[in-house]
């Protein structure tokens, strides 16, 4: 009898408690309601939900809030690209201009054999440590080659090949983790207006004489490119810079051929997805290299 009574009273007591707290929370929910913009969850749904933080905000929800509050641009999500930007713009009711995916390029194309004055280094094998030590190679601007950027990539899109980072643009989402990881700040996100983008693959600001002492492929600041393409190239501090605002989708091999031919250091390099014929060549090389 006592057992049944206990069970009944246990049910009653818990029912009272549950009812009390449910009522309390129900009232509190109404009284303490915070008006949230209905567009915020809509924007969250439109985002890729990768939560990578590539936009500079703490995850997709934070970015959605920032977009609705006009603290971030519609096309601020580097992973979603123009598709997401269009969806977000539709939710917010604004016009979006054509956007291009921002992808990292490396302002150094020196392979291990191109670097001069490389000394044996037995310290901690990371770029950040080697950068602090400072004397592992003669060039104080270029890639150190220990692969901090490759380690920072969570999409397996960046690998060290022959002492320099190579981006797999099929896998790359443009989250910018490699940009932050590089202690020498030679990785930059540029708008990929074409499949391949021409990039000044050097960051050395020393005069030509000094550059030639430390690297075989360094930009010597000869201004040859600037003379041919004055509005696109700009040489300051002995280093050529590309003006990506003027880099249009129409520019192609025909326009760049003379520049590439003139560049004495071969410091102008195409970055991006390999062209079809080049991709075929790579695949053939892979096939040949694979032991049967």
């Amino acid at each position: 009898m006592a057992v049944i009574l206990t069970i009944i009273w246990a049910g009653i007591v818990l029912f009272i408690l549950t009812l009390f707290f449910a009522t309390l929370l129900g009232i509190a929910k109404e009284k303490l309601r915070v008006a949230e913009d209905p567009r915020i969850p809509a924007v969250v749904d439109a985002l890729p939900a990768a939560n990578c933080g590539g936009c500079g905000f703490a995850g997709c929800a934070d970015f959605a809030k920032a977009v609705v509050e006009s603290r971030a641009p519609c096309d601020g999500c580097p992973v979603g690209g123009s598709k997401t930007a269009a969806k977000v713009a539709e939710i917010l009711g604004v016009e979006v201009v054509e956007t291009f995916p921002y992808r990292p390029v490396i302002h150094c194309a020196a392979r291990t054999e191109d670097k001069l004055g490389v000394v044996p280094y037995d310290g901690v094998q990371t770029c950040s440590e080697a950068h602090i030590v400072g004397v592992t190679q003669a060039c104080t601007y270029g890639c150190l080659g220990y692969g901090d950027c490759a380690g920072a990539c969570t999409f397996d899109a960046l690998h060290m090949v022959a002492g320099k980072p190579v981006v797999n643009y099929d896998k790359c989402t443009g989250c910018g983790a490699c940009v932050k990881a590089c202690p020498r700040n030679i990785i930059e996100q540029i708008p990929f207006k074409q499949e391949q983008m021409l990039v000044v693959a050097c960051a050395n600001k020393e005069p030509a004489r000094e550059v030639k002492k430390v690297c075989r492929v360094g930009c010597v600041g000869c201004k040859a490119c600037q003379r041919i393409f004055a509005d696109l190239f700009n040489v300051t501090d002995n280093l050529a810079y590309m003006n990506y605002d003027k880099y249009t989708a129409e520019l192609g091999d025909a326009e760049f051929e003379p520049v590439l031919a003139k560049c004495p250091a071969k410091a102008l390099v195409y970055f991006g997805k390999p062209k079809p014929e080049y991709a075929r060549q790579l695949a053939a090389e892979d096939e040949a290299a694979t032991p049967v």
């Binding site: 246990a10 007591v13 303490l32």
Partner: protein, 207 residues
């Protein structure tokens, strides 16, 4: 009940019987949220707040609901007949309190709400809080509401102290040359153990 007794209770639970380092409760946030001092301190503050409120409310439930109903139905000698409901009732109280605190902060202190972030909902399943509420019910010195409140507050302060010290040490470990075998979780658990040993030195006071 004197002020001295209250101080004794506070120091006893904050230092001597520290929830984390002597009771081994709340290890999950102690290891999970102790990477940075500011985050650890935020977590500690959130726990302290919820632990104090929950401690008071659960004391009221035991002494104002379970005990009177038990003695009214089964007679005064069986006042504890319904005490087996403590566990499920306490969890409900803690979950409700966390929800309530979250809503309240969101409405009136948005910066604090943003600062707490995900820690506040995480506290719902923090065993340190349930443990404190159950301890309060067991200890003879917490038969008064004020004592129970001080006990719960002391527990929260002890948790904050432990997790903040841990975060401070871990911030330094990041720049230390830790042997490869100990890196990561290994050195963290070693530090926690040594910290617990150090806190056992408090066992002499309060006696």
């Amino acid at each position: 009940m004197s002020i001295g007794a209250l101080i004794g209770i506070f120091l006893g639970v904050a230092l001597v019987n520290n929830l984390v380092l002597a009771g081994f409760l709340g290890i999950c946030p102690f290891l999970g949220v102790s990477r940075k001092v500011d985050m650890a301190f935020g977590m500690g503050c959130a726990v302290t707040f919820v632990i104090t409120v929950s401690g008071v409310v659960t004391w009221l439930i035991v002494h104002g609901l379970l005990a009177p109903i038990g003695s009214a139905i089964f007679g005064p000698e069986h006042a504890g007949a319904l005490f087996f409901l403590k566990y499920v009732a306490f969890i409900m109280v803690i979950a409700s309190m966390v929800q309530l605190v979250e809503m309240y902060l969101r409405k009136f202190f948005p910066p604090l709400y943003t600062a707490f972030g995900v820690f506040l909902p995480l506290i719902t399943t923090n065993c340190a809080i349930l443990g404190t509420c159950l301890y309060i019910d067991m200890k003879p010195e917490t038969q008064y509401l004020l004592n129970a409140a001080v006990y719960a507050f002391g527990g929260g302060i002890g948790f904050t102290l432990a997790i903040t010290i841990m975060a401070g040490i871990r911030e330094h470990i990041r720049f230390s040359d830790v042997p490869k075998a100990f890196q990561g979780a290994g050195i963290t658990l070693l530090v926690a153990g040594i910290l617990a040993l150090a806190f056992s030195g408090f066992a002499g006071i309060g006696k």
